[in-house]
Structures are given as C-alpha cells and as structure tokens.
Subunit: 138 residues, 6 copies
C-alpha cells in the first residue's frame, strides 16, 4: 500500500505501537498478521491494477483528516462487526490499539455494533474480546 | 445470564436434555459448548454493562410466552441460517434439541432458511446436518 | 403457483381468512396485494422456467408438515425481518394472519428478529406494527 | 425512551440543536421525523415489553461515555450505511448534526462506510448527501 | 466520472443505445436516470476527494477487459440483486441493455441471483421484470 | 444432483478438467472437495425432499443457456464474494476453472465483487487468490 495519493489535508497517523510490538504482545494478533502477510503475497504477485487502486483508496480512508484517525479505525471496527468479518475486526482492533485507543473505547465501539447488528454479532464480539484481552493485558 | 427480569407472562422452558447430556451425545456440540464457555469467560470478566443488558434481553426473548419456546428457538435457527452464522446455528440447533424438537422439525426450519436465504445457506446447512446427525443418532 | 409437486406428507394449510377479506380489513394489505398482483403479471408473462420452479419450491416450503404451517409462516417473517425486506415482511404477516396467528404471536416472532438482527430491524418493525394495527383492529 | 437505567458513568449528551430546529431547517428531516413519530405511536400503543427494553438499550448505547457521544452517532451512521438502511442513516445524520458534528466529519464517516461497504452504498450516500445539503445550508 | 485512469488494456465499451434513447423507451428508466442525475448534483458539488476516487474506480471496473463489458455489467446486476439494491439493479439492467444484452440473457443473470440469494430476491426481481418489460417491448 | 429436469434449451456444459484433475493440481481444492463430499453424505442420507429440489434447481441454473455456462459460474463467484461465503467462492472458482475460464477472467470477476461489496470482500479475495495461485500454477 503506497501513500503517494495522500492529499495535502490528510496525513499518516502517528502510531503508538508498531506491528512488531503488537505481535509480541498478542499471539492472536501475531497469527492474524502473519497469515495476512502470507496471503497478501499472492495478491501482490498478481499485480492487479484495480486491486492496487482499491488498496490505496482503502488506505487513504483512514488517514488523519476532519476526523481523527483513531475514530475512523473504530468506525471501521463497527462496520466490520456489523458485517461480521472476523479478519476485518482483528485488523481494526489492532490498528485502533496501535493508535492509542483504550480498551474502554474499543468496547463502546463494539457495543454500537452489537446494538445495531444484533445478537448475530455476539460470536464475533466474543472473539474480539479474546484479542482485546491479550492486547490490553497488564 | 440472570433471569431476574422475567415478566409474569414469560417463564423458563423445561429442557428435556441438559447441556451435559448434549455434550456427551455429540462431539461437535461439546466442542462448540466448550469453546463458547471459554470465550464467554473473557466477556464476563470485562463486565460491560451494555453487553450484560444485551445478554439478558437475548435470554428473555426465547422464554415460554405467546409462542412456545421451542418454536422461538427454531425461529432463531432460521434467522441464524439466513444471516449465515455457524455458531448461532449450532446454538439454536442444540437449544431446540434440548427442548424436545424432532429432527424432522429442525429440517423443516432449515428449509425455510434455505428458500428465503438461497444457495448461500447450503454450506451452513451441510454443517448443521452434521450436527443433527450426531444429536439424533440412535 | 401450482401445487402438483406437493408430496403425500405435506398439504395445503386451511386459511381462516381469504386474501379478499384481508384486503377489506387493511388498506396497507390491499395496497401490497394489488401491487404484487400487478408486478407478478410481468413475471408470469415472461414464463421463465427456473423462476416458476423457484416459485413452486417456495410455495411447498410453507405447507403443513412436520411443523404446522403457521409456525413456518412466522419463521418466514423472522427471516424477512432479519434480512430487512418490507415486501417479504408484509407477505408473511398477512399469511400468518390468514392462518389464525394471534397478534401476540406475531409480536413475539418480530422480537426474535429484533434481537437477532439488531436496531437495523426497527424501521421495518415500525412498518410491520402499522400493518398489524390494521389487521388486528377490533 | 426512558433513561432510568443510565449508569453513573454515562450521561445524556448536550444537543446544539433541537428536533424542532432540525425540522425547520430541512424538509427531508421534517418528513423523516414526522413519519417516525407517527409510526412509533403504533409501537408505543402495543406496549411490548421486549421492544421497550430494546429501545432503552439502544438509547443508552449512544450516551456520553468512554467515547464522546458524537463519535458514537457517527459510528451508528457508518453501521447504518454499511447495512444500507435509509431511515437509520437519516436518524444518525440528524443526531450527529444536533450534537455539533461538522459536514466534513459526516462526509468522512460516510467515506468509511463507502469503502467498507462498496458501491452498493452509493445510492444511500446520494440520499444522505441530499439531507446533508439541507442541514448544512448557509 | 472521468476516464483518465483507464489503462492501456481496458477501454470504454461501445454502447448500442444512449441514455437518452433508454429514457425515451422506458418511463421507469427515465425516472431512475432523472432522479440519479438530480441526486448526483449534490455529490458533485461536495467535491469529496475519496468519493471521486471511488466513482473513478467503479467506472473502470466495468470497462472492456479480459471479460467483455456486457458480462461484467450482468455480474454487477447479479451482485446488486443478491445484495438487494433496487437502484443498483436498475443501473445494471439499463447498462446491460445499452450494451446490447438480450432479455433472455438478463433473465438468466437474474436467475443466478435468485438461486444464490433466495426468495428474498423475489420482490426486487419483480421490479426488475417491470423495467425489462418496458426496455424490451416491441 | 440429477439432471432429469433439464429443459430442451439447456444442456450440461463441457468441462475442460475433471474434479479429479482439479484435486491433483491444488491441495486447497482437494481439501474443499473432500470436505464437501463428506458433508454432503449426511445431507444425502437425510433424503429431504425440498433440499433435493433446491439442489436440482441450483444445478440447472448454471447450465449452458442464453448465457454461456462459464459466465454464469463467474456470476455465481461474484454473488458468493459479495455475500462473503468462502465455500461458495471456492466452488465457483473451481467450476469456472473446469470450464476453461482464464485467471485474468477470474480476477476481473472478483474485481466486480470487490467494488460492489467493498473492503469487507478483501479477506475472501485473499483466500480466493491463494486458490487461483494453485489452480493456475505452471
């Protein structure tokens, strides 16, 4: 994901933690990140023009802008939980954590998804809480 | 899940089988129940007010009422299959079984989900039939 | 919709009310039924083999069987509300009414959909309650 | 919607605009609010215990808490747009506006929904922009 | 929607009919196109960078490429019907018609959506058939 | 799946590769096919009339007809990716491959699903690319 299309009003957010630190803290996160890296290699090799464009657009959506990046990551988390995609939930939980979001903030975002999306969200919430437990352990 | 909010018109249904009996009869059911128990421990520890309220509301929805509890469990099964949530399907198949629902009744409920939700339901139906096979084996 | 494929174990349910009675009681129901009749004329004229097969399969799913037809109509209502299709909700509310389902039973089925599907179901529930109000008025 | 269950850590957000001011500024908003009020009367009259519980839970989800209420309204907007519910979108656009959210912030939230949910969100985005145009007109 | 990012391997498809001809043939199509034009004016005025990028990406997806444009429009139709978006269905039915797709081909694409997506697709199929009836009338 | 209901206008497509050849080429495909065969045995044993009817209808939908079978398989792939069903995606990727669809054609179909369905499709796209990598390896 390149950032060459970032406009003047948007900039990369400042991470509090690196992917490496996340992987060291949480086994679930490490497993997710490793698996994604491996699978993305196939996608990168294919070098599909529209896929690359979509990845770029996706990246730019979560930059600092009118809304702080951390709230947009939490919005991505809510959307992912409502649409019930475990990989997407893991991604946004980890990105939010990296941006300094607290556990209480993550839980409140998940509560929005739970109320909007209903009990069908519960199994995904359970797995998200397991990841939260590892990331925010003392 | 407490039941302190149960109203006068609604009461706990009488189970024919306990979770323990279900787990002894079906390995798939035991695996599901054990995994859920383990994951719910994280959720319980978090002690999130709104999550507890949602769990309570969810519990009360399936009590005996104007509709017999067993038909509401089957409705939960249909909803879960249409929204394609394997964990939710397992939960409602097991609860229906515990309330004395026959295999033929479970299959007819799944048929409603199949016709309303389409072929996208088929992979979930296959896994549900595997669970039905274990639960209703002679 | 022909019923030539009905098997020996399944039979047409006995309606308490006709479509005509429903249309006389509720303006919302009449509007829905008229609009569907008009639109189905285009579909019938097209005489598409697979569409006819699907309509037939759909019809047979809700016949009396291991489960009473009225509970399968309510399952169709739950599925429709979870998947948020107003026309489908109207159809199953009306069919359930025709089979003698009480208003309290309809509300409990909608409650299952509300809890499983979340607040996103609420706008559809509001419109369903408007139809229930007309159908079950004294 | 009563607020008697609000916990000590959560409180009602301070609105910048009342529903009345919103209805005076935007015809689309007034139409939505009037229609909802009319339909909710049927729901209120039914006095269904679980529906009232769900409304209460829904209300409490968006209170000031670990996350500012305005960001939770925007999360509700993202969820509504991803799940493609026009009434829910209108509700959260209006609530966000009432809490002082800027137009640029609303657009960025909708962008998250667009990227997560895809082009299927576009027709709903178009209608949301029409409402934004009226609410934020000079 | 600009086409400046069209790559060397992709080119604009050759339409058999213009939007104007479509609007003259079908009142439903004209109503849809007029309404979309009006609503898009608000979106264009907002000049949101990411929305414009998404529109561009969306446009490029349906160009002539490894797959003929007409089959990609029909794939867009199938996706729209499965995700149950009437505006999206109208768009892809019209674009397919403009590219010379026959009515029989449109019906077969809709059949794929019906079988994959289930009876919940039927109300959308009925409305699509109404549009097909106008577009393909003698 | 019997084909006794195939109409005169529709016929079985000619496969370039057998299931056996697919399983020998790709470990992911073999795993998917073996697992499906095993699970379908339970379904077959149940001998549910409506399930068999649905399987038959499903089979007939993808036959050669007004549209070449290969494009209908790709439409099934787009629908499956939009509705995010990994098993359904694997099935249609394999069927398309068996009918001689090129990798570039599969990627373009997946691009339609990505744009219509949004970033929530990405994790499924990654897994589809892994399968494509095995099937189309030199």
């Amino acid at each position: 994901m390149t950032t060459d299309h970032v406009t003047k009003d948007h900039k990369e957010p400042a991470n509090v933690f690196s992917d490496k630190q996340v992987a060291e803290k949480s086994e679930l996160a490490r497993h997710f990140l490793d698996s994604r890296t491996r699978l993305n290699e196939n996608v990168d090799k294919a070098d599909n023009f529209l896929v690359k464009r979509f990845y770029n657009l996706d990246h730019n959506t979560y930059l600092e802008g009118a809304l702080p990046a951390k709230y947009k990551e939490l919005m991505g988390l809510v959307a992912s939980a409502c649409l019930r995609c475990d990989d997407c939930i893991s991604h946004h939980v980890i990105q939010s954590y990296r941006l300094g979001v607290t556990r209480a903030e993550q839980e409140e975002a998940i509560n929005v998804a739970l109320v909007v999306g209903g009990s069908i969200v519960i199994p995904h919430m359970r797995r998200a809480y397991e990841l939260l437990g590892e990331l925010y352990s003392a």
